[in-house]
Symmetry: C2
Subunit: 235 residues, 2 copies
Amino acid sequence: MLLHSVAVSIDGYNPNDYPPFAVTVDLVVLTVRPPNLKVLLTQRGESPAKGSWALPGGFVGSEQDLIDAAQSKLTDKTGIQVAEAHLEQLGTFGAPKRDPRMRIVSVAYLALVADPPEPELDEASWHRVDGLSDRSLAFDHSEILAKGVERARSKLEYTTLATSFCGAEFTVAELRSVYEAVWGTELDAANFHRKVMATDGFVEATGRTESAGRGRPARTYVASDARDLHPPIVR
Amino acid sequence: MLLHSVAVSIDGYNPNDYPPFAVTVDLVVLTVRPPNLKVLLTQRGESPAKGSWALPGGFVGSEQDLIDAAQSKLTDKTGIQVAEAHLEQLGTFGAPKRDPRMRIVSVAYLALVADPPEPELDEASWHRVDGLSDRSLAFDHSEILAKGVERARSKLEYTTLATSFCGAEFTVAELRSVYEAVWGTELDAANFHRKVMATDGFVEATGRTESAGRGRPARTYVASDARDLHPPIVR
DNA sequence: ACCTTTCTTGTCACAATGACTATAAAAAGG
DNA sequence: CCTTTTTATAGTCATTGTGACAAGAAAGGT
């Protein structure tokens, strides 16, 4: 294998005249269990970094599209059906020494899921995001996680994606608890309610109500058709 | 070469047990020549897609970091020094058939440059973004360009990046012409001026003025230290 | 019956915005 | 030299969005 071949231009090359890379996908799978934001991690069973926690991931097949690889890893690890979850590309990490064994480029994906079942694989489990230090994950996965969390925080401001963390039917208070868990702040219930209701296409009333045990029962809603929030809900 | 080998897990693999990919970087290099937003394109000299326009790019070296590859392509094609330009990762495109010859994953970068010299290479030149149709570039480069333009439009709302399109010293009118070119809209000069001035850390007065030929001379400013705009300047 | 809890609506002062007017400082043309 | 034109910058005002807070509505607990 021509590990050190160098291509001089995108023109005039042939399939033997480029440096070979392995391509993987890594997943930042987030969910909300109020009042906490949680991330799915797997414990590595092999060296390097044996025993430490890492993001779930794996190789991309030679004929597999990147998003398909991410979807299949997500289903493998969580049993979540793809249609229920939000999945978007987060960024690509390819520092030469990020994996000590070989040159790997990893395409990170961010998944937002609601009501996850307990992970199917024993070595995967949910962890509080705010309980992880900046360096506690294997490889550069802490950096990838930080980028995923920041992306989620930012998307909640400008899009309706918070509904991806809720079940099909939810109350405004549940939606607020999503914002509070992801942002790590408390929000005024009355003002939050007003803003959600004032935003066309964010949520749609079902006509039903639901009691959380204590207090006045809340009306329930389903996600509506808007994708962007006008005006945004700012942190 | 094991073109069809399939890795079953991230654990327990060895360097011969993964599908090999070629990794390239593609650059969306944008600049503003009022009243137009322009993108740097190269004309392909080889098949496939010989003669059609494409984004500049090239292979990533086997020991080269992704951003370093992007920086070196940028300097090669434009002569721009890296410190003067803004460069950020845009996204990764890896559909199995995006290049007909082999499996290629391309990491796209977005570069915003000010006052570019004429391209050093004859086959590269600046093109109006609004003069390109959705399908006029080679491979999936029209899609990549669209994503780059949308990223630039969005970043102008929430960050101070518009200053990257200006020289070191600029007037508020020049900054406004950047917004108008990137967004493709006209802005009220008085309101724009008020918003820029009201945003701490966006621009810093030099004390000098500069005449554009006609009209009252404008004060000049340099970019200041803020990276995010509070409040944003909305489209 | 009362209290507590939570959801929901309402009030009010204040900040940000768009549309617009007014003034300032230069060049161009008589 | 004075007026017109052009652009930059400042100010006005009605409207809208916001945070802090009060108040009413609807349930369960004691």
